[in-house]
Symmetry: C2
Subunit: 336 residues, 2 copies
DNA sequence: GTGAAAGCGCTAACAA
DNA sequence: TTGTTAGCGCTTTCAC
């Protein structure tokens, strides 16, 4: 990489002259500016990012810590973050916590050494289970702002972007009830997560509010075979006429399982699930999907962080929690 | 962040003493080392990464440029890269080219300013179509090594990690023929990609080698509705008794479509597809999957790059191309 | 055993 | 209009 020093030497001027010329300083003569810029162009000069970061004490880099990159929702959020951050000239360093508290702590520590200006993260499963929040506080005390999305630690004071999980399943279940469904099941493979619990509560509330409706809940652990579990659940509960799924795979598998047992969707069973466009097409009929607008969640998280980074800390910006409402995209897996 | 300077001041020693003490230099007295380390511990001192990078002229950061983070295969490779890179103390900066040549160029340029020590990338669709390679060469000329994976630019001399695409579909098609299938279709939504073309060629070779077998090819463009296209393809070609899919969704949808048309899988139709474990479970029966070992691809790419970064350029390391063989994971979507 | 000083690449206050 | 200098945080050579 060519440096200011080399340009200066070749042009027989001082380093600062070159620097100023390239930054269009008014101090420098037109002729000089032209000469400098031409040579810089010729050598494809780019200011060294590391030196700039050191000088300006900021990196224009955001640390993103997500629990699982293979989760389609999280990948989509990451996409949203990346795109939005780029707009404002930020790069992102990605760390994957693998749902582990230890890895989450490490990533936070490792990047809190001047590598990034702040963090966007989704709390790992283990962290949520152990309800550990010290590492977040420590990082923030070091002057690095954090924005949490989706799974958040409520006891940490920071910006947050969340989904209306409770409402989504509450309203989703009610929609099935409005179709006349009497035996509505809830299937989830994210039982341990805060959002999973909220979704379950939404379902429960809707069921309990109706007289004579029973709770039919299937929880699938990470290691288990979803397809197998759902099949036997359907076998044991032949009267199921509606399904609401808390994750993207379960809904699709539920439809396919119904077909497998010669039960027509949506004539015999209606199915709704949290899902993205691409996954919901993996069943016939297509799954009626509760969309979480993952990209928008990512974009919002990035905005919140960048706003904070650009605000002088003296201004004492209040922490905000942004709720991104889900949307139901209906398809032929429900009656109406 | 606390700096050496602050520690030095508080301890009434010089900055260099503190630095040496923390690095266990033999020059420094035992007592001093102890004092320094205690204070550093107390203040949770971490050497500033940016300053180190500037000093040592390397960042321990790898730039990863992928065309699409929502592609499950690519996300998995990214996961593999991240994990392997972390082992060696490298962080990764992720850029998403969105299949655009322009964005790919930009990302390369933007990070080639000292932000990263090298690149791992998968060539974007547009880049492949236009057969543009100047930006890769330029980057390498700037002293930044590149490792390409999956979709590679053959005319660029660099390390590569690829899949045996041709062989996979060739052998896959042969496997279907060995089951007695006579009307085997090839379905692909990645027709424009180098790997897509290779997979098609593998299929064609196997078909052409058999007398009396016809080519049945369905190509789905990005914007099109896969489910719809596959449905009408099946309608128009009622005699299809085998399917080999070049991407992860098509295989799953093919099975579901067959079921929809009351055709038993695998009795009437056998289906094989490039897919991952999670996606292949989205159909009943589960899709017989050609696994690409995405994580291993990522890990290998990271290894190749890091090896090159650690090798003095004087050593003139040869460029290598690593082929990761696919594996077929059979399930009940084929006869045997 | 400890410290001063130079230098990585850059910007900016100040001097000329 | 241009140049000198200091300094961001760190390592390392060379003096003391």
């Amino acid at each position: 990489m060519v440096t200011l020093k080399q340009l200066a030497k070749e042009l027989n001027v001082s380093i600062s002259t070159v620097s100023k010329a390239l930054n269009n300083s008014e101090e420098i003569g037109e002729e000089t500016i032209k000469r400098v810029k031409e040579l810089a162009e010729l050598y494809n000069y780019k200011p060294n990012k590391v030196a700039l970061s050191l000088k300006q004490n900021k990196t224009n880099t955001i640390g993103v810590i997500i629990p699982d990159i293979l989760n389609h929702f999280l990948a989509k959020v990451l996409f949203g973050i990346e795109r939005e951050a780029n707009k404002y000239g930020y790069n992102i360093i990605t760390c994957i916590s693998n749902e582990s508290l230890e890895k989450e702590k490490n990533s936070l520590q490792l990047l809190a050494n001047g590598s990034v200006d702040g963090f966007i993260l989704c709390v790992s499963q283990e962290t949520q289970m152990k309800n550990e929040i010290q590492h977040f506080k420590k990082t923030m005390n070091q002057g690095l702002p954090i924005v949490m999305f989706d799974r958040v630690a409520h006891d940490v004071m920071c910006d947050k972007v969340i989904v209306d999980d409770f409402d989504s399943t509450y309203r989703g279940t009610q929609a099935l009830q409005a179709e006349g469904r009497k035996h509505i099941a809830f299937i989830s493979n994210i039982d341990e997560l805060s959002v999973g619990k909220l979704r379950e509560r939404g379902y429960k509330k809707a069921i309990i509010e109706q007289a004579n409706q029973e709770l039919l809940i299937l929880k699938i652990a990470n290691a288990e075979d979803s397809q197998q579990k759902i099949k036997s659940f359907f076998k044991q509960n032949k009267h199921i006429d509606g399904v609401i799924a808390a994750d993207s795979a379960s809904g699709v598998i539920a439809i396919n399982t119904a077909a497998h047992y010669k039960r027509k969707v949506p004539k015999d069973i209606s199915v709704i699930g949290f899902s993205s466009k691409s996954i919901s097409g993996h069943s016939i009929p297509r799954l009626t999907a509760i969309r979480q607008h993952a990209k928008r969640i990512g974009a919002n998280a990035a905005q919140l962080l960048i706003r904070r980074l650009k605000t002088p800390s003296s201004e004492n910006l209040d922490f905000s929690t942004k709720i991104i409402k889900t949307t139901v995209v209906k398809s032929k897996s429900v009656l109406r």
